[in-house]
Subunit: 289 residues, 2 copies
């Protein structure tokens, strides 16, 4: 009912960065997302409000991505800002997958191919930024592969000389992790799952957080969560996906699965990160909240 007379201007639309932040908020609002913090679930030391503060704090870094600055630097600043709350690592993986998507959207062409080109164009400086990002948070990761001890992300900025010596770009680092990390796989695979899940979000009906919870389960049923595989083992991750599939099939209730996952310490964080990426793409493509 906005009037065009009397000097009333049209409302300002959400920017690309606004959509990225809203995607982070909608992700954590969707419930149940079994095993994750969501509108109805907290962990003792990682709570809903930490995700709200994390989403707000990430803005400066997301703006750098939109402004065409180095992707690694944008990511590192986003993580640094996100980490300014008591919960610690709320959205590390989500920011990693969002950064190239935000760049592509800001440059006017949000496609998996274009985001993949930005990922491929990263440099050694971006890789150094990526290792710096680990200084701001604790991230659960496995031991590095054979012969890669010098590049253990747990070394944080101390690994930078090894990165520089081997002349690894951030894309190279992602390629080396693609087998064990679902976010790295997006970086090196034209963000295929993020875009597919975005289509699902646009197809489904109902409140957006409900769609997000549904798409989270679909993603989890489709592929084992690499964060669960890292924290537990491959078998636990595969079994979690089977259980998500059973919930989708109606054999169990998602809310019951949520209770079970919490009790067992299973939290499919990578799948939640992909859900955030999908929400961003869907918002950019007109998903109405």
């Amino acid at each position: 009912m906005t009037s065009t007379g009397s000097g009333v201007e049209p409302p300002p639309g959400r920017t690309v960065v606004d959509d990225a932040q809203l995607a982070l908020l909608l992700e954590v609002a969707g419930t149940p997302k079994p095993g994750n913090v969501d509108r109805a679930h907290d962990y003792d030391d990682l709570r809903f409000e930490h995700f709200l503060a994390g989403g707000i704090g990430a803005r400066r870094g997301l703006e750098l991505a939109a402004d065409g600055k180095r992707l690694g630097r944008a990511f590192e600043r986003a993580v640094a800002g996100m980490s300014q709350q008591r919960g610690g690592n709320s959205q590390f993986g989500a920011l990693l997958v969002l950064t190239p998507l935000v760049r592509a959207a800001a440059e006017g062409e949000l496609s998996g191919e274009r985001a993949g080109e930005f990922a491929e164009a990263t440099t050694v400086a971006d890789a150094a930024d990526f290792f710096r990002a680990f200084e701001h948070v604790d991230v659960a990761v496995d031991d590095p592969p054979e012969g890669m001890d010098a590049l253990d992300v747990r070394r944080g900025a101390e690994a930078i000389p090894a990165v520089e010596e081997r002349e690894l770009t951030l894309y190279d680092v992602m390629e080396r992790s693609a087998e064990v990390d679902g976010i790295a796989r997006e970086w090196t695979g034209e963000f295929e799952r993020s875009f597919d899940a975005a289509e699902r979000l646009l197809e489904l009906d109902g409140p957006v957080p409900d769609r997000a919870a549904r798409v989270f389960l679909e993603l989890l049923a489709e592929e084992p969560d690499t964060f669960v595989a890292t924290k537990h083992d491959r078998e636990t991750a595969e079994r979690a996906s089977e259980r998500a599939a059973a919930a989708l099939a109606g054999d169990t209730v998602p809310a019951a699965l949520a209770d079970e996952f919490v009790a067992e310490g299973i939290n499919p964080g990578t799948t939640a990160d992909l859900t955030a990426a999908a929400l961003f793409v869907a918002l950019e493509r007109g998903l109405d909240v």
Copy 2:
């Protein structure tokens, strides 16, 4: 555990505008806030995610307030951006009380006196902006006082000629509403309740959304909600405050009061707006999330 070596810079802090947005998000996250949308409550047509999108959409207007632009204009743009979600009016009153507070904080002195000075310094142009803001949303208001028909906010921008003819500033408009509107009373009373409630938020222990829910009840117990008085009547508003006091005293459970208020259509929206203002002041004063 941020390292200072290896080129790792300190994290970017939240800006004044970031804090205003985070305050809007933390307000709606606090539960139970009887009668209002919160982390555990939706209405059919006004849902949690509308507040998330409203908080993100308001940014452009909040930035104008921080950048020293006309307060009325900043508010109108904040409302316009906030309204870009399907729920309609999620945070009109909260943005009205936040706008002068954001200006004062951005200028370096967030006190009730300083915010009150900015409120008093508003002009006829600000008043015109204020009336334009009503073009973007439906706001529940009473009939205007005797002889004020031409200034009925429900006329939106059509009321602007009457505002200009009478040379009313936005502060003048607020003075005329102070008796029936708790937000107008903040504008004309140096934001006393917002600052007092901020002190309470800083004093209390526990997760910030829990503190916000507690402070909401305290504010409601302390003074009848003017939105409830407008939508129902003075007696209903007074009775709602007595019931909030009973919940604080432990005679009833806040969650039960929430169910009752929803059933009776009582939603103390002005009290929620003041809670958002208090959260903003508290965040600016170091409230840790």
